[in-house]
């Protein structure tokens, strides 16, 4: 079978090619395997699915041709994600940082050597990357981080602790923020950005079990961990600025994928609860109340993509609204459907990871929704940003 990329010149043909390709590429019985085999099953599904995408050149198709990608347009990526959501394929969450944040960072700020080595590691080696940003004392107030990296000859020596590192337990590499200047006038100005090999001596990774039963996040402890100076990204003490500018590398696509999956879930739920709604008009009315919010979200995301297509650096404002809108809607919706499911929802199930935010296990989806309301800028932080930065209300 040829890669669907051969048809990428035309969106309709590309869509048709993706539809042909997907059934054979999606790991067979992936939901069953995750349910039966738990984390092992999840990891196996992720790797198989990533390999299938890699073989078709799709995983890194959005990268520039010069670095092994296919310069796939945003519109074509949207088609790809649309079709994956439609086919209920697993998402590739284990590789999010590998496919988006790391390359965006290295494209813009990496050395040729860094690019050659780490991009290839992802493209053909299936390297998993994580981020080392938050700390126990620096969550919403990230810039107050205290993990320090002290230059000693050809290495930086790192001490401290990171937390909330997604997939940190499985990662080969980490994008690390650490303080290199303790005396900087503004706390943002003393931070540098590093490539960290997760096999480095002195480094300990501890999974954090979540309220869903998964351990998607990790704590990372640093005890005199050495990072070679060539692993510094950009200039020393420029880390905050670099990280900020690449944090939103996935902007648009991941939220698009998630919102598409929600749109599909709502359609599926309308069918699933049809009999219940016929018996119970009050529940039907409450369900209907969610529908316009889901439509609005879809169009907000559509607007973000349209802005990004015109300018890859645009969309900051609407992305902020979308984050809050999506997180709130997701928690409300799954909280509601879990109620519709009554006692059934309350039976603990093996988490169906990588199925997007609205799998059939509504209570799991509800619990998991906190990863959107709390992480990546909590709802409260988003509201501060909207009020102060976008609307100019005084601090």
């Amino acid at each position: 079978m040829t890669s669907p990329l051969a048809a990428a010149h035309d969106l309709d043909s590309f869509r048709a090619a993706i539809r042909d390709w997907l059934p054979g590429a999606i790991p067979a019985d992936w939901k069953g395997r995750i349910r039966r085999e738990s984390e092992e099953g999840y990891l196996a599904v992720q790797r198989e699915w990533y390999r299938a995408q890699t073989e078709a050149g799709l995983a890194t198709a959005h990268w520039p041709r010069d670095w092994g990608g296919a310069d796939l347009s945003l519109a074509a990526q949207v088609v790809l994600y649309e079709e994956m959501a439609r086919a209920d394929a697993p998402n590739t969450d284990l590789f999010t940082v590998s496919l988006y944040h790391m390359p965006a960072t290295l494209f813009a700020y990496g050395t040729p050597e860094q690019r050659a080595r780490y991009l290839e590691g992802v493209r053909t080696g299936g390297d998993i990357w994580c981020q080392g940003f938050s700390e126990p004392g620096a969550g919403s107030d990230l810039a107050s981080l205290r993990t320090r990296a002290d230059r000693r000859g050809d290495v930086y020596v790192v001490n401290g602790q990171k937390i909330w590192s997604s997939y940190g337990v499985f990662a080969n590499y980490c994008l690390l923020l650490a303080r290199t200047n303790q005396e900087a006038a503004r706390k943002h100005d003393g931070i540098s950005y590093f490539i960290l090999d997760m096999k480095s001596p002195g480094l300990t990774v501890k999974p954090i079990r979540q309220i869903t039963g998964e351990a998607e996040f990790a704590e990372i402890f640093f005890d005199d961990v050495e990072i070679p100076v060539e692993n510094l990204i950009g200039a020393e003490n420029e880390g905050w600025r670099i990280a900020q500018s690449t944090l939103t590398a996935e902007r648009g696509l991941l939220i698009f994928e998630n919102s598409e999956r929600l749109v599909h879930a709502v359609r599926r739920d309308a069918a699933r609860y049809r009999d219940l709604f016929a018996r119970d008009p009050a529940k039907a009315a409450a369900f209907a109340g969610f529908y316009p919010r889901v439509r609005a979200l879809k169009h907000m995301v559509g607007e973000l993509l349209a802005q990004l297509e015109r300018d890859p650096h645009a969309g900051g404002e609407i992305a902020t609204y979308i984050k809050l809108y999506w997180a709130t809607l997701l928690q409300d919706y799954n909280g509601f459907t879990a109620r519709l499911d009554g006692l059934d929802a309350l039976i603990e199930a093996e988490p169906l990871r990588c199925a997007g935010q609205t799998p059939d296990d509504t209570m799991y989806a509800f619990l998991k929704s906190y990863s959107w309301t709390v992480a990546g800028g909590s709802n409260e932080i988003m509201r501060n940003v909207i009020a102060e930065r976008l609307l100019g209300l005084p601090r």
Partner: protein, 361 residues
């Protein structure tokens, strides 16, 4: 009129005129003394050709689409304009879609030229209460109905059901409908009674479920737009107050609990706006998903407007509770349009038909 063909330019011109002619101070004075439309403001917009926007070119209009009207409804909503815009434009739409050639030639130029028409809501949003029966010399009309803006209207466009169950629209001269004041002083409501009233053939044209459905889409988009506009008018007013008003030695806009509420309102407005835009685009394209999306937009935008308007008074504190401040104009308009032409259950039921779900309204 070429420069009017660009919707954004149109919208800007609507805004400039309304800001000048119908700003907050003007509105407060009008609403303080009058129940119903502002005739001078109406004359102004008629003079500017706004009532001719969507009238077909063959009948003296500009022949623009619903997207142009949505822009107008939105801007009118922004200043809580006391104008029978939806009534009149919806009537023109009904006539342009369903009336006979002679009727159109008689009526549409009249509307383009400023005749105010009150209209009964489209059938899917309102069960017709008037009945007509064929007689030798025309029709006999009987029943009672309640219409918005009738007391200010020159003509009334009724909806009646004939003895064979078919729907008809009737254009009658408005003869002094009783003026029931509404909390929203920009409109009035009238209960109108007919008993065996003779209506000549040339005042009647057949409607249909399809035509009525198209009108329902028009009405839904109009009120969604008015709601979006209302939020766009009220939110900056409220933000400005929060920046200006000081208590405990600082601007009250620095209090986080108030900030967060504003952030939520603003975020919801973004969703309302983009849903309205999408629904309007579907309607312009004649896409079959249009009616569902328009109703979704109406339900969402009107609910969010009502909630913003409710909270805006609270955020303004005492001053928001006075008739001297514009807050209450928005609240009363928001509560009106939330109910008007189908309330939330009616439109949500229409919206979820896109999910193949039939629920009670």
């Amino acid at each position: 009129m070429d420069d009017l063909s660009d919707i954004d330019a149109l919208k800007t011109s609507f805004r400039e005129v309304l800001d000048t002619e119908a700003g907050t101070d003007w509105a407060l004075r009008h609403f303080d003394h009058v129940h119903g439309m502002s005739r001078p403001l109406w004359d102004t917009i008629v003079g500017l050709g706004w009532t001719a926007l969507a009238v077909p070119e063959a009948h003296g209009g500009l022949g623009l689409g619903i997207d142009a009207l949505v822009a107008l409804y939105e801007e009118a909503g922004r200043v809580v304009a006391p104008l029978p815009l939806l009534s009149t434009m919806l009537a023109a739409d009904a006539i342009a879609r369903g009336a006979g050639a002679v009727q159109q030639a008689d009526w549409l130029p009249m509307i383009a030229g400023g005749t105010v028409v009150a209209v009964e809501p489209p059938a899917p949003l309102h069960s017709p209460t008037l009945t007509i029966a064929r007689t030798g010399d025309g029709w006999r009309l009987t029943g009672t109905t309640r219409i918005l803006d009738a007391a200010d209207a020159d003509r009334l466009l009724h909806l009646a059901i004939a003895t064979d169950g078919t729907l008809h629209r009737l254009l009658l001269v408005a003869d002094g409908a009783e003026r029931q004041p509404l909390w929203d002083h920009g409109h009035t409501l009238s209960d109108i009674h007919y008993h065996d009233r003779l209506v000549p053939d040339d005042a009647v044209f057949p409607s249909s479920p399809e035509l009525e459905d198209a009108l329902a889409v028009h009405a839904a988009l109009a009120l969604a737009a008015e709601a979006v506009g209302g939020c766009e008018g009220l939110l900056p007013l409220t933000i400005e107050y929060l920046k200006t008003r000081h208590q405990f030695g600082k601007p009250i806009g620095s209090f986080q609990a108030l900030k967060h509420r504003i952030a939520d309102h603003r975020t919801r407005l973004e969703g309302d706006r983009l849903l309205l835009a999408a629904a309007t685009a579907l309607a312009v394209a004649g896409d079959p998903r249009g009616p569902s999306e328009a109703s979704a937009a109406k339900a969402l935008a009107c609910a969010n407007y009502a909630e913003l308007a409710r909270d805006a008074i609270q955020l303004h504190g005492g001053i928001g509770f006075t008739a001297e401040h514009a807050c209450h104009l928005f609240l009363k308009r928001a509560r009106l349009i939330e109910t008007l032409f189908g309330d939330a259950p009616v439109h949500l039921a229409r919206a979820v038909r896109a999910l193949d779900l039939e629920i009670a309204a």
